[in-house]
């Protein structure tokens, strides 16, 4: 028996859909990335993102349903926030209306809860409680996950998200978008000793982050140098080192303060290989188990929304017919 949940993700620049079965697990998922659409602007253009979601969402769902020979589901989960309001509204309008059309419940999922729980989609699954580091283009947070639905944000970025800092730095250096992979590629050729950038907010207590000053540091350094390929790689390397070091220092501090024995990495920046290596070393030193979702579940996807939706469906947390998008929505309010 069990039940099937359709998950819909449209909070930023990825259109994601998935089907999750309460007993069989993830049945299937599909993703359309708008990265090429936004590349020439060096960042996500909200209006273009919303325009693309409304074109791509139903075709993705249609394909997924025909692959799985489904005509209906038991519930529809969609990302209700946080994110870009126009983009979120598309998923909410389609998701809530699908649910009404089928006369089944709808679930409004918190995007970051989706990310937090994405690691549960794969074996081995982490056990509660755990510390989660959420690092993406929109968020940088350390979260104490006591249980499903019990989240405490321990620290977060006071300005730019880590992924945003990657994008902006890439733009300064004349690299492509998205910035994360571009910088990681270039940093491999960089000399680690050429420059040293600050590790923001690591000398003061607390678990908050700040990445906007680092971007300014990159700009000043880059402008003061002879701008050749080697310097570009050296700056990329120094920047990546600074971000990774900062994230690792705060993770270590959070693990020490909470005494938690598991660390889960989530969000697009979590796909950065050198960050993974660094955090694995940290885990080994501190005897902490470190979990990484598959890169496809690190970035925005429908599977994590379907999974979080299934848990909330079981708890009968349904949305009314009056749907809404919550562009700013704290996880502490869950």
């Amino acid at each position: 028996m069990g039940f099937v949940i359709l998950g819909i993700e449209t909070s930023c620049d990825e259109t994601g859909v998935a089907l999750y079965h309460s007993e069989q697990g993830l049945l299937g998922h599909a993703l359309y990335s708008q990265v090429d659409l936004h590349a020439k602007y060096g960042g996500v253009v909200p209006e273009l993102a919303a325009r693309d979601h409304v074109r791509k969402l139903i075709p993705l769902i249609k394909t997924l349903f025909s692959e799985h020979h489904l005509k209906t589901v038991d519930g529809v989960a969609y990302t209700a926030g946080p994110g870009l309001i126009g983009a979120l509204l598309v998923g909410a309008a389609v998701g809530r209306s699908l649910a009404w059309g089928w006369q089944v419940p709808a679930i409004g999922v918190h995007h970051m809860e989706g990310h937090l729980l994405a690691s549960m989609l794969e074996e081995p699954t982490p056990t509660f409680p755990f510390l989660a580091l959420l690092v993406s283009g929109g968020h940088t947070q350390l979260v104490n996950v006591a249980a499903v639905g019990k989240y405490t944000v321990l620290g977060e970025s006071v300005d730019d998200a880590a992924g945003e800092a990657f994008d902006k730095t890439a733009k300064l250096l004349g690299l492509g978008y998205p910035g994360g992979p571009a910088i990681a590629r270039l940093a491999k050729q960089g000399n680690p000793d050429a420059f040293h950038f600050p590790r923001p907010m690591t000398r003061q207590p607390g678990l908050n982050f700040s990445f906007s000053g680092l971007k300014t540091f990159v700009l000043t350094t880059w402008k003061a140098q002879e701008q050749n390929e080697q310097t570009r790689a050296d700056v990329a390397r120094a920047f990546e080192d600074a971000v990774i070091d900062t994230l690792a220092i705060k993770c270590r501090r959070a693990l020490q303060e909470t005494g938690l024995k598991s660390l889960v990495i989530a969000g697009g920046v979590g796909a950065n290989q050198r960050l993974r290596t660094r955090l694995t070393e940290l885990g080994n030193k501190m005897k902490v188990a470190v979990y990484y979702p598959h890169p496809i579940f690190c970035t925005d996807n429908g599977a994590m929304i379907a999974y979080a939706g299934a848990l909330r469906f079981a708890a009968k947390q349904f949305e009314p017919l009056a749907f809404e998008a919550r562009p700013r929505w704290s996880m502490n309010d869950l």
């Binding site: 598309v90 309008a93 749907f323």
Partner: protein
């Protein structure tokens, strides 16, 4: 024939249910409240008629032009209902709906519909009543500054829509002798979509759910220099 019509393209939010000649209708003026209102309205109409969504034959929606966000709400809702209920959709113009409403309300036969598009522009179109009592597009729908509107050559025309409030003086001066009368405080209303939708259905102008897409008319939305789009309507 059971047809549901929805519109959230402007400040108004409305929903109408047609069952074999009878129309029930819900409508409010409620800017930025559309997401909260549209499905409860539809649900109320269907419950009163003891219908389930999958008992509908077709769904008509306003495809634009209008508020970008409003259009995506209508289209998203139309896509969701139509896909789940496995029924086709019929795209209807907001401007044609205004024209049809002017016929229902005043017996207008020639209509110049204008919606305030912000940014000193209007959405503009001309419509003429055919022998079947259906408004047909006579002047192509465009987005332009009020002084750049296209004009009919003959006849007496009725002006309707919010463009006629914001730019009353400019538009009536430009239309001049061709203008019979105008009424600015008018919004698309889904009951006026019904005749248009029935005619389109008869002509086979139906689409599948994924083709319930907005017609924005305004497609320059990115300011390259700033990398940001202008505000939504």
């Amino acid at each position: 024939m059971k047809l549901l019509a929805i519109d959230t393209s402007t400040e108004a939010c409305s929903c109408a249910l047609y069952i074999d000649g009878e129309i029930q209708n819900r409508s409010v003026i409620a800017p930025r409240q559309h997401a909260a209102l549209i499905l409860p309205m539809a649900d109320e109409l269907l419950q009163a008629a003891d219908l389930k969504p999958n008992q509908l034959d077709v769904l008509a929606f306003v495809r634009g032009p209008g508020s970008f966000t409003g259009l995506r709400i209508t289209c998203g809702v139309a896509q969701g209902i139509a896909f789940a209920a496995d029924i086709p959709v019929i795209p209807i113009s907001s401007l044609a709906t205004l024209a049809q409403a002017a016929n229902i309300e005043y017996g207008a036969k020639n209509v110049l519909a204008a919606i305030d598009a912000r940014m000193k522009e209007i959405y503009w179109g001309g419509y003429r009543l055919d022998n079947e009592g259906i408004m047909r597009c006579e002047l192509d729908e465009i987005v332009c500054q009020p002084e750049k509107i296209s004009l009919p050559t003959t006849g007496k025309w009725y002006g309707t829509g919010t463009g006629w409030t914001t730019y009353a003086t400019q538009l009536s001066t430009i239309v001049g002798n061709l203008l019979h009368h105008y009424q600015g405080e008018r919004y698309p209303q889904s009951h006026a979509m019904i005749p248009l939708a029935l005619a389109a259905f008869k002509e086979g102008k139906i689409e599948s759910a994924e083709n319930a897409l907005p017609v924005y008319l305004r497609n320059k939305v990115v300011n390259i220099a700033r990398g940001n789009p202008p505000g939504i309507l």
